[in-house]
C-alpha cells in the first residue's frame, strides 16, 4: 500500500511538472504574475511529491518489503539498518529516484531562494527545470519503476553487493548527484536567458552561486568516491581513469571552466556566449555521465542494470536536451560581443584557464567515448586507460600550473608584468629551492614528477601570496569570497602533491608470511601474528594481525580482513590503514599459500594530501558561496544599497 502510494506520488509529480513547464514558460511570455506564481508552487509541490515517493521507497527498504522487486533484488533481512537505508540508492531504480529527487530539490530551492532577478527569467528557469523533471519522471515511471511488485513475495532478499556495504554509500551518491544535477540549474539559466533574449552581467552574477554550489558538491562527491575506492579496492589506488570516474570528471572540469568564465562574464561583461555554451555543455556532460553509468554501455560496479531500453531512453533525453540547448544557442545567442582584452590582464589568464580546462575535458571525453564509438562502427577494438590519460594530462598540467598563480594577482582590463614579478618572486624561489632539495635527497624521482611537484609548490606559494594580499583588504566576514580563490587554488596544489608523491614514492612489500615473521617496509617494522576467523553481522571474515615493532606506533596492531558475505556469496577485502599526514601504511591479507599467508603492505607517502586538497577546494567554493549569501541578506536588510 505504501509502495502504491509512492508510485502514485511519482505520477502526480509528473503531472505537476507539466503544469510547471506550461505555467513557467507561458507565464513569462504573457508576463502573468499569477501563472508565474503557479510555476513556483508547482516546483515546490513537485519536490514534496518526489520526496513522498522517496520516503515510501525508503520505508519499503527499512521494513524489507520483498514484494517490491527492487527491495528483493538488493536487500536482505540480515543487512544492517544503515545499509537498508543507503541501499535505497544502491540500485538502478532507487538511484534514478534520488536523481529526480535532487532535481526537484534544486527546482524548489531555486523557487524559494532566488528572488532578486526579473520574475520572467525566474519563471522561465522554473519552466526549463520542469522540462527536465518531465523527462526523468517519464524515464523513471516507464522504464525504471522502483515500485514494481513481484507476483509472489519471496521470504528473503538477494542482498546488496558487499562492496557497496560501506558507510561511504550513504554519502557518495547523494553528493555526486547534488553536483551532477546541480548543473541542471545552470543549464536552465542558459536556456531561460536565451529564451528571454537578454544575457548580461547580472545574469552571470545570479547564476554563479548555483554553479558554485553544484561544483562544491561534485568536488566532494568525486573525492569521497576516490577515497572509497582507495580503501576498498585493496591496494591503495585512488584514481583508475575508469570510464565511470571519467564520467564524473568531465562535468567537474567543464564546471570548473564555467565558474571561471562566469566570473569574467560577471565582472567584465565579456565571454558571455562562451559562458552560455559552457553552461549547456556542463549539464550535457552530466547527462552523458548518467547515460554512460546507467545504460550498461559500461560494465562496472556502478552499472547495476544492463537494459538497452533504459540506455536508449537516457540517450534520447541526452540528445533532446543537448541538441535542443545547442540549437537554441545557435539560433538565439547574442551577436558576438566585443570580446577584446589585453594579453596581460586577469581576463586573459582566465581565458587561458578555460582553454586548458576545455582541452582537458575534451581529452577525457574522447578517451572515454572513442573506444566505444570505434567498436560501435565496427572499427578495431582498442583500450584507452590510465597510461594514455597520464601521458596527455601531465604535459597539459604543467603550463596550466605555471600560469595559474598569475591570474588572481593581475588586475582586470590591463596590467603590467613587472610588479607581479616582484610579488611572486618569493613563491617562485621557494618552489625552485624545495624542488631542487627533493631532487637531491629523493633519488630516483622521475623528472616529470619533480616538475609537477615544483608546479604544485609554485601554485601554493602563489595562493599564499594572493591570500596575504586579500587578508589585508578583508574587513568583515561577509567578505569571505575574497579568500575563496586562494583557498581553492592552494587546495589544487596540495592535491597534486599528494597525487605525485603517492605515485612516485610508493613502497611495496609482497610476501608469503608465517606467523611470527618480521616484515620490513621502508623504515617501518611489523610482526605478522597470523590469521583468525571472525563473525560479522552478515558476513564471516578472516582477520590478519600485524603489530608494529619500534617507532611511533610501537605495539599498535593492524587488522586487515577478507570478508565472505553468505547472502550475496561474494567476498571483499578490507584493508587496514595507519593514517598519518606524512603517509599511510596500507596492509592487506591475501590467499593462504601452503602453510603461509600472502601479506601485502604498501606505504603511500602524503596520500592524504589528495583528499585534503579536494576538501580545501570545496572549502574555497563554500567560502565564495557563504560570502555571497551573506552579502545578499545584507543587501536585503538595506544595509547596502
Amino acid at each position: 500500500m505504501i509502495a502504491e502510494f509512492g508510485h502514485f506520488a511519482l505520477v502526480c509529480a509528473l503531472c505537476v511538472c507539466a503544469v510547471q513547464v506550461g505555467a513557467g514558460l507561458a507565464g513569462a511570455r504573457s508576463t502573468s504574475a499569477d501563472l508565474m506564481r503557479v510555476a513556483d508552487i508547482s516546483a515546490r509541490a513537485q519536490f514534496g511529491l518526489v520526496l513522498t515517493a522517496f520516503g515510501a521507497l525508503t520505508y519499503s527498504f527499512v521494513v524489507s518489503d520483498f514484494s517490491l522487486a527492487v527491495v528483493h533484488a538488493n536487500s536482505h533481512i540480515a543487512k544492517p539498518l544503515v545499509y537498508k537505508i543507503a541501499g535505497v540508492w544502491g540500485n538502478h531504480e532507487g538511484s534514478m529516484l534520488l536523481w529526480v529527487l535532487i532535481l526537484a530539490l534544486y527546482g524548489a530551492a531555486f523557487s524559494w531562494g532566488e528572488r532578486a532577478m526579473p520574475s520572467s527569467l525566474h519563471a522561465r528557469i522554473l519552466g526549463v527545470q520542469g522540462l527536465m523533471g518531465i523527462a526523468f519522471l517519464v524515464f523513471l515511471v516507464l522504464t525504471s519503476n522502483p515500485f514494481a511488485r513481484l507476483d509472489t513475495a519471496p521470504f528473503e532478499g538477494r542482498g546488496l553487493t558487499p562492496i557497496l556495504q560501506d558507510p561511504a554509500l550513504a554519502a557518495h551518491p547523494p553528493l555526486l548527484y547534488a553536483g551532477y544535477v546541480g548543473f541542471s540549474i545552470t543549464f536552465s539559466f542558459a536556456i531561460a536567458a536565451l529564451l528571454e533574449g537578454k544575457v548580461d552581467r547580472a545574469w552571470a552574477r545570479w547564476m554563479r552561486p548555483w554553479t558554485l554550489s553544484a561544483w562544491v558538491f561534485l568536488t566532494l562527491g568525486i573525492a569521497l568516491g576516490s577515497y572509497w575506492a582507495y580503501y576498498e579496492l585493496g591496494w591503495g589506488g585512488f584514481w583508475f581513469w575508469d570510464p565511470v570516474e571519467n564520467a564524473s570528471l568531465m562535468p567537474w572540469l567543464a564546471g570548473t571552466a564555467l565558474l571561471h568564465s562566469a566570473l569574467v562574464a560577471e565582472r567584465r561583461g565579456t565571454l558571455i556566449n562562451w559562458t552560455l555554451l559552457l553552461a549547456i555543455l556542463t549539464f550535457a556532460l552530466s547527462l552523458a555521465g548518467t547515460f554512460l553509468v546507467r545504460s550498461g554501455v559500461l560494465t562496472s560496479v556502478h552499472a547495476f542494470a544492463n537494459d538497452p531500453a533504459r540506455g536508449l531512453f537516457i540517450l534520447a533525453i541526452l540528445a533532446l536536451f543537448t541538441g535542443g540547448g545547442l540549437a537554441l544557442f545557435g539560433w538565439r545567442a547574442p551577436a558576438s560581443s566585443n570580446d577584446k582584452f589585453q594579453p596581460v590582464s586577469r581576463e586573459a589568464l582566465l581565458v587561458a584557464n578555460n582553454i586548458f580546462l576545455a582541452t582537458a575535458t575534451v581529452t577525457v571525453f574522447i578517451g572515454t567515448i572513442y573506444p566505444l564509438a570505434l567498436d560501435a562502427i565496427g572499427g578495431p577494438k582498442i583500450s584507452v586507460g590510465a597510461p594514455y590519460f597520464n601521458a596527455v594530462f601531465a604535459p597539459l598540467t604543467i603550463p596550466f600550473l605555471i600560469m595559474l598563480p598569475l591570474g588572481p594577482l593581475l588586475a582586470w582590463r590591463n596590467d603590467s608584468l613587472s610588479p607581479l614579478v616582484t610579488r611572486l618572486a618569493p613563491a617562485a624561489l621557494a618552489a625552485i629551492l624545495i624542488t631542487l632539495g627533493l631532487a637531491m635527497t629523493r633519488n630516483g624521482t622521475p623528472l616529470l614528477a619533480l616538475v609537477l611537484l615544483g608546479g604544485a609548490f609554485w601554485l601554493i606559494g602563489g595562493a599564499l601570496t594572493d591570500m596575504g594580499q586579500r587578508l589585508r583588504r578583508l574587513q568583515n566576514l561577509t567578505q569571505t569570497p575574497l579568500l575563496s580563490a586562494p583557498v581553492a587554488h592552494a587546495g589544487l596544489g596540495v592535491m597534486i602533491i599528494g597525487i605525485i608523491t603517492a605515485t612516485a614514492w610508493r613502497q611495496e612489500l609482497v610476501v608469503a608470511a608465517t606467523p611470527g615473521d618480521v616484515l620490513q617496509i621502508g623504515e617501518k617494522t611489523l610482526r605478522f601474528d597470523g590469521v583468525r576467523e571472525r563473525a560479522g553481522p552478515n558476513y564471516t571474515s578472516e582477520q590478519g594481525r600485524l603489530v608494529y615493532i619500534g617507532g611511533a606506533h610501537e605495539g599498535n596492531a593492524l587488522l586487515p580482513e577478507r570478508r565472505f558475505y553468505e547472502a550475496e556469496r561474494s567476498q571483499t577485502t578490507e584493508a587496514a590503514i595507519t593514517t598519518n599526514l606524512a603517509g599511510h601504511l596500507y596492509a592487506v591479507i591475501g590467499e593462504p599459500v601452503d602453510d603461509k599467508r600472502v601479506v601485502r603492505i604498501w606505504y603511500h607517502p602524503f596520500v592524504a594530501f589528495i583528499w585534503i586538497g579536494a576538501l580545501l577546494m570545496a572549502l574555497g567554493g563554500a567560502l565564495g558561496l557563504a560570502g555571497r549569501v551573506g552579502r545578499r541578506s545584507h543587501a536585503v536588510s538595506g544595509a547596502r544599497a
Binding site: 553487493t161 562492496i163 576498498e232 579496492l233 585493496g234 591496494w235 589506488g237 583508475f240 575508469d242 570510464p243 560494465t299 562496472s300 560496479v301 552499472a303 570580446d339 577584446k340 582584452f341 589585453q342 594579453p343 586573459a348 581565458v351 587561458a352 582553454i355 576545455a358 582541452t359 575534451v362 581529452t363 574522447i366 578517451g367 572513442y370 570505434l374 572499427g379 578495431p380 577494438k381 582498442i382 583500450s383 584507452v384 586507460g385 590510465a386 597510461p387 594514455y388 601521458a391 596527455v392 597539459l396 582590463r413 590591463n414 611495496e508 609482497v510 610476501v511 608469503a512 556469496r569 561474494s570 567476498q571 571483499t572 577485502t573 592487506v588 591475501g590 590467499e591 600472502v598 601485502r600
Partner: protein, 133 residues
C-alpha cells in the same frame, strides 16, 4: 581454485585487486622497475578495466611472467610491447599506439590547444586603453 571461483561468482563486478604475488618480482631492481612500468600498460583481458599489474587473474599472472622472462632474456620494452600486442591484439594496450584509427586520440588535444591559442591571440585588443565600459 578459490580465486577462479570468486571471479566466476562475482562476474562483472570489480574484483578486489592485488597486484603481484610473492616470488614474482625479479632480483634486479632496474629490471623489476621496467617490468612494473610495462605491466601497467597491459590490460588484463578477463578483468574489468584492470591492468595486469593490478589483477590477480591467472591470465594476468601468466602475462606478468612472460614480460619478466623476456626482460631477463634482454628484450627491449618495444620488443615486449610488440610481442604482447601480436599475441593479444591492440585491445591489450592501455596506451594505444599512434596509428590511423588512434591518431585522433593523440592529436586532438594538441590541435585544440593550437586552435584555441590562435583564436585567443585574435581577441587581444591592439590598443591599450580604448575600451569603453
Amino acid at each position: 581454485m578459490m580465486r577462479v571461483l570468486i571471479v566466476l561468482l562475482v562476474g562483472t563486478l570489480l574484483v578486489p585487486a592485488y597486484a603481484i604475488d610473492p616470488g614474482e618480482a625479479l632480483g634486479d631492481p632496474a629490471l623489476e622497475a621496467r617490468a612494473r612500468a610495462l605491466s601497467v600498460e597491459f590490460r588484463c583481458l578477463v578483468c574489468q578495466n584492470q591492468s595486469i599489474d593490478d589483477s590477480d587473474a591467472p591470465l594476468a599472472r601468466d602475462l606478468r611472467a612472460m614480460v619478466r622472462a623476456r626482460l631477463l632474456a634482454g628484450d627491449s620494452d618495444r620488443d615486449i610491447r610488440a610481442a604482447v600486442t601480436e599475441r593479444y591484439g591492440e585491445f591489450v594496450l592501455f596506451r594505444p599506439r599512434f596509428g590511423g584509427a588512434t591518431a585522433i586520440l593523440w592529436l586532438l588535444p594538441v590541435f585544440l590547444l593550437g586552435i584555441a591559442g590562435w583564436f585567443v591571440t585574435r581577441m587581444f585588443s591592439s590598443t591599450t586603453s580604448s575600451e569603453v565600459e
